[in-house]
Assembly symmetry: C2
Homo-oligomer: 359 residues x 2
């Protein structure tokens, strides 16, 4: 299947959150339909999808029925159970493929993979027990950070070590889950590159964005990022290297630390990424459409930026500011349709298009 999916073809999306929602809208712009598979009720993506299956990833009959209605399968999150993937893969192509999921589902595997590609990462060591922990702290030192190998996101499953005295508590925080101790990187700022690779191996990257986090959650992405021309080139080449070596098909987010010694890869996400939401209002073809194009066997857009943008996430009670933001000039709201504005929950984002004064 390297031919372009045609009008009315169906893309199956595993996961019905805001990323699935925005993927679904992007698919519609290309005349394609989506079918969302999501265990929980009233998923955000269902508001804009052609079809919805509400079922567990353990329900193999539901997975088979889902696969039968779609032309290709993609996903909005990386922690899909392996058994579900086995069922689906026997019926329809899954894009991006299994290798990207295998690598990114486990921090240790991911960091090892990146290091073997010749990319710089923070120093890291595997920690499964107290003995590992002792060795790891001796090797990597403090300050450092212990992170679960699997299922971490938005700062969850992490524990900081200010000194060696914090080691026991950090290990206890993991509650027995395998973890990785990561050394402290002295970086000036974080940037990310959103890159896409098509089914026939074409690569296109958006301009790097500069990320600011708050309470462990992405707060803003500003484009363009503060990078020299050389750093910008490095960032894109590193991303292309990862995409090509994984034989990747789709959009990926690559987070990079900017240090005096060069760019260091923090982590990769085998999917559209929060730090790429600015592309919706800064580019004619956004990260969601690039992903859909890749998955659907279409050629990629060139991803050129027509406008500078500052993206701000709306978390929890930031929703109270929506009425004000709606009045701002050149501010594009993107709300996710979630009913409960719980603290720490991503409710939407706003892209502020930066317009130079003109006559």
């Amino acid at each position: 299947m390297s031919e372009m999916l045609k009008t009315g073809a169906v893309i199956g999306i595993l996961g019905g959150g805001q990323l699935g929602r925005m993927l679904s809208v992007a698919a519609s712009r290309l005349g394609l339909r989506t079918h969302i598979f999501e265990p929980s009720a009233n998923p955000p993506a269902a508001d804009v999808a052609h079809q919805l299956t509400t079922a567990s990833y353990e329900d193999h009959d539901a997975l088979r029925a889902f696969a039968a209605t779609v032309d290709v399968i993609t996903y909005e999150f990386e922690n899909i159970p392996t058994s579900a993937l086995d069922v689906l893969e026997s019926l329809r192509p899954i894009r991006p493929g299994r290798e990207a999921l295998r690598v990114s589902q486990d921090r240790l595997t991911e960091k090892t993979y990146l290091a073997e590609l010749g990319l710089k990462t923070a120093p890291f060591a595997n920690v499964e027990n107290a003995e590992d922990m002792e060795k790891a702290v001796a090797e990597i030192g403090t300050p450092s950070i212990l992170k679960t190998r699997r299922f971490g996101y938005d700062g969850k499953g992490q524990s900081r070590l200010k000194s060696t005295e914090d080691a026991a508590q950090a290990l206890a925080d993991m509650a027995g889950a395998p973890a990785v101790l990561e050394g402290f990187v002295n970086f000036s700022h974080e940037v990310s590159v959103i890159g896409t690779r098509s089914a026939d191996g074409q690569v296109a990257c958006f301009d790097p964005g500069e990320n600011v986090h708050r309470d462990g959650i992405l707060h803003t992405t500003t484009v363009p990022a503060r990078l020299s021309a050389g750093q910008r080139m490095d960032a894109v080449l590193m991303t292309a290297n990862i995409l090509n070596s994984l034989d990747y098909v789709g959009t990926m987010g690559v987070e990079l630390f900017v240090t005096p010694e060069g760019l260091i890869v923090n982590e990769i996400a085998p999917r559209v990424h929060n730090s790429g939401h600015w592309t919706q209002n800064g580019c004619a073809v956004d990260q969601f459409e690039q992903h859909i194009r890749a998955v659907a066997g279409w050629p990629l857009g060139d991803g050129k930026r027509h406008s500078d943008v500052v993206m701000e996430n709306l978390i929890g009670d930031d929703m109270e500011r929506v009425g004000e933001i709606a009045l701002e000039t050149n501010a594009a709201l993107h709300l996710y349709g979630k009913a409960d504005a719980k603290p720490g929950r991503k409710m939407g984002h706003v892209n502020r298009v930066q317009v130079a004064a003109k006559g």
Copy 2:
């Protein structure tokens, strides 16, 4: 109901074509859901709607059931049967209101209304029979054009009179339908203003676009249009005048002829309009979102243009060019998901963002 509809509220949309489809996507960006009412099967809007009712406008039970699930009702086309509106209006607010529909459903009523507002229109006369036709031709002369009073669009239901000899044939072309004879206007180009009025009477207009038609169908809209500062102001004031006098809530398209004697109103459409599609890639808040904001009791965005755009409609076998267009720099595709690319059928459009060279 002048308070803002909240996350998860439902907007009912009468009509499931491409305008309903793009309204539905815009609603999703504000966290709102849509329910589409459409008689024909597989409507384009259903791909991105929360709910779909497939029923006739004569099915009053279906209309009542539809109304019961929505918070407010809007529409994507003006020719909704009056009996359906009567049923719906007793149950939920309809925005824009009945007056806008009454005026715009009939060319004679519309032109009379606009003339009484003090706006210039082409000379016109009512034609219901041969006697009317003779009087009308004597008064208005040729070249002129005979148009059905109701249900005309994209050049359908029109017959041109090059000389008085064409009068009989033109009248026969109307097949007994009441018509209007319109005098020829010597205009240099056509522009249109897309304006929106909120529930509390705020008005916001997008920059006028310049329209080029081909075979009676809109071909391109270019923004900015060729207009002097004075003409631009006139165009916006005329639009605001119409919106205010109709006590209008929602987005409207106003087509204007540019002549040496000033701007002449060609026609108005009480809905989002093809000549406003450029706003999707030229503004942070597009015409569809402005309409949804108005209908949902939200404040309007200011509608400022951040980029110049040329919109091109993709009609019928223009779809064969989609593969090429997908490769263009700064070209945003918007396809409608229609299976059959019949001649003259609107299949999609492309917004080409015009980027000034920069460093």
